[in-house]
């Protein structure tokens, strides 16, 4: 892949515009260095509209760092990130949800003191009355909008079979429930692309299957997914496209069938298998 014109990375040429129609997210030559460690080195890949793309690699490959670079949690040293054709490299973290890009966290990060329902309601964008003047001047409208929002949030939660826990405090929920609430919170922003950081970790056999069927349904409804996941078997089954990273570099990408035969990937994974979990 060619780098964007030097000196003015925000210029989007015709080829980019064409690519933007098929790919919702384009990462170009992304690099970041933490002190002496080159955590991510010149990584480029694209996420297709309406598809599941997986980012895999052994521990320390830089997968979560790529997520943090995309969402602005960590500033990139080099590289460009295009989301729906827009250069979002320097957009602050709070600018993503409104643009249609949401993420979940490996460590879930619910608002622990709030109910599950309130957690989901936080995900809504452009909420009526979310300011300091509404309690003074637009109280009735604010309350009406709130009840409507709570109803919508409950509807969303029922799709994820979370209706029964809506009014429980997030910290009291079971681990799988917390993971689902976190996804529901991200979905409340109506994302076009959802970044999932290890959606299957910590789930048991049946819960994994259920999560996979939820994710497939989600993609069918038009939301593209980019996931970081260690469960290689599941990744091979549900992904349309796989990007493999190792020690901060992209070593392969392609459909699952090609990745499973890829010599370098096999070497990295078989080598990694001895010292990490299978």
């Amino acid at each position: 892949m060619n780098a964007t014109p030097a000196g003015n990375p925000s210029v989007i040429n015709a080829a980019d515009a064409f690519a933007a129609e098929r790919s919702i997210l384009a990462v170009r030559n992304l690099s970041v260095r933490f002190g002496g460690l080159q955590a991510v080195r010149s990584v480029s890949f694209e996420v297709a509209v309406g598809k599941i793309t997986a980012l895999i690699g052994p521990n320390g490959a830089g997968k979560t760092t790529v997520f943090n670079l995309i969402t602005g949690a960590v500033p990139a040293d080099e590289g460009v990130i295009l989301f729906r054709g827009e250069d979002i490299t320097n957009v602050p973290s709070h600018g993503f949800a409104g643009r249609g890009l949401s993420r979940t966290f490996q460590d879930i990060r619910l608002f622990r003191g709030m109910t599950a329902l309130e957690n989901v309601m936080i995900g809504f964008q452009r909420v009526k009355g979310e300011d300091f003047a509404s309690p003074l001047f637009r109280w009735r409208q604010t309350r009406t909008a709130e009840r409507e929002g709570a109803r919508r949030a409950l509807e969303l939660m029922e799709q994820w079979r979370l209706g029964g826990v809506a009014h429980r405090i997030a910290a009291d929920l079971s681990y799988p429930e917390q993971k689902l609430v976190a996804i529901a919170r991200a979905l409340a922003a109506e994302p076009k692309l959802l970044l999932l950081d290890e959606p299957l970790s910590g789930l048991s056999g049946t819960a994994v299957e259920e999560m996979l069927s939820y994710l497939s349904r989600l993609v069918q409804s038009g939301c593209a997914l980019l996931l970081v996941e260690h469960n290689i078997g599941a990744v091979m089954r549900i992904s349309d496209h796989i990007v493999v990273m190792h020690l901060g570099e992209k070593i392969a990408e392609g459909p699952p069938s090609a990745i499973s035969r890829h010599a370098r990937v096999r070497e990295v994974y078989l080598g990694a298998k001895r010292d990490t979990r299978s």
Partner: protein
């Protein structure tokens, strides 16, 4: 009788300060140690205006006090509220001390360590003054109560619970924190302005860090994030010294006993009720959002088999 009215008025002023502090501290999770200094900013602003233009009455003084405090809070906020956690507590404490130093050293304006005295009488009697203060307390409490239940209240609690998750949910956490800090400081300045008009004498010693800590104690004892908690905390801790007058304690020891009781309350209440006397329970009450169910239905979601195994 005059004395009782005076005590109730002072308690109402504490109430305004505590309810205001509860917005930034209880809801927003910002450890604000500058509350007393901003009471002082308001007191000086209102007093100086009352001296310059006694004919204007008290409203312009209170409004200008709030505006000056909000502006100062904005400048301080954009500089310090990017810092999170413990570092902000240190910055906030430093600001409290610096502001009191300014009151002491800006002699031409503030009258230095002796403060401003012989402030003009803006209300004819104490009863009217009490009514004004209680009315403002009621208004501030109603506003705070609504804010707690509004989308902004929810956003503030989200920022308090997890900053980066709130940021990824599209919340501009830095600017929201600056804004709630401005509201808290502006309302603190109104309380300070009222205090200045009441006592007709203000000096830097009234706005020291001990008052900031007293107000923090009020909302921790009362319940963070709950307006009723802040009011009860102000009543209990503010009223404690007055209640002690009725006990047969020699005058010399009153202050000591007061401190022992006040320290015990601070230790015992969190032990007995960790979330304060009136915890922030908004959201657990399904009725307020109109989404109550007949009966809680156990989840049959993916978590159910895990729970069955526990």
């Amino acid at each position: 009788m005059d004395y009782v009215i005076l005590v109730i008025t002072v308690l109402a002023i504490y109430g305004i300060g505590a309810v205001a502090l509860n917005l930034a501290f209880g809801l927003g999770g910002i450890f604000v140690v500058t509350q007393a200094a901003f009471l002082g900013v308001g007191a000086y602003a209102a007093a100086l205006l009352a001296k310059a233009a006694p004919a204007w009455g008290f409203w312009p003084g209170l409004l200008i006090a709030a505006a000056v405090a909000a502006l100062l809070a904005w400048v301080i906020g954009i500089a310090t509220l990017r810092i999170r956690g413990d570092a902000f507590i240190v910055a906030s404490l430093a600001l409290q001390i610096v502001l009191v130093d300014v009151f002491v050293n800006l002699k031409d304006v503030t009258g230095g360590p002796y403060g401003l005295s012989k402030l003009p009488e803006v209300l004819p009697n104490r009863v009217l003054y009490l009514l004004l203060t209680v009315a403002i307390l009621a208004g501030v409490s109603l506003y705070a109560h609504r804010l707690t239940r509004s989308p902004m209240g929810r956003t503030l609690r989200a920022i308090r619970d997890d900053d980066s998750a709130a940021e990824m949910s599209g919340k501009d956490t830095v600017n929201t924190r600056v804004a709630v800090y401005m509201v808290t400081c502006a309302l603190a300045a109104v309380a300070g302005g009222l205090m200045g008009i009441l006592t007709k004498y203000i000096y830097p010693g009234s706005f020291g860090v001990d008052l900031s800590i007293l107000m923090i104690a009020m909302i921790i004892v009362g319940g963070l994030g709950n307006v009723w908690g802040a009011l009860l905390g102000a009543l209990l801790l503010g009223g404690l010294p007055e209640a002690l007058r009725f006990l047969p304690i020699p005058n010399d020891n009153v202050l000591t006993v007061q401190r022992i009781l006040y320290g015990s309350a601070l230790m015992l209440v969190p032990f007995w009720r960790p979330r304060g006397l009136f915890p922030d329970s908004y959201g657990r009450n399904a009725r307020v959002l109109g989404t109550a169910r007949e009966r809680p239905v156990p989840s049959d979601g993916p978590g159910s088999d895990e729970r069955a195994l526990r």
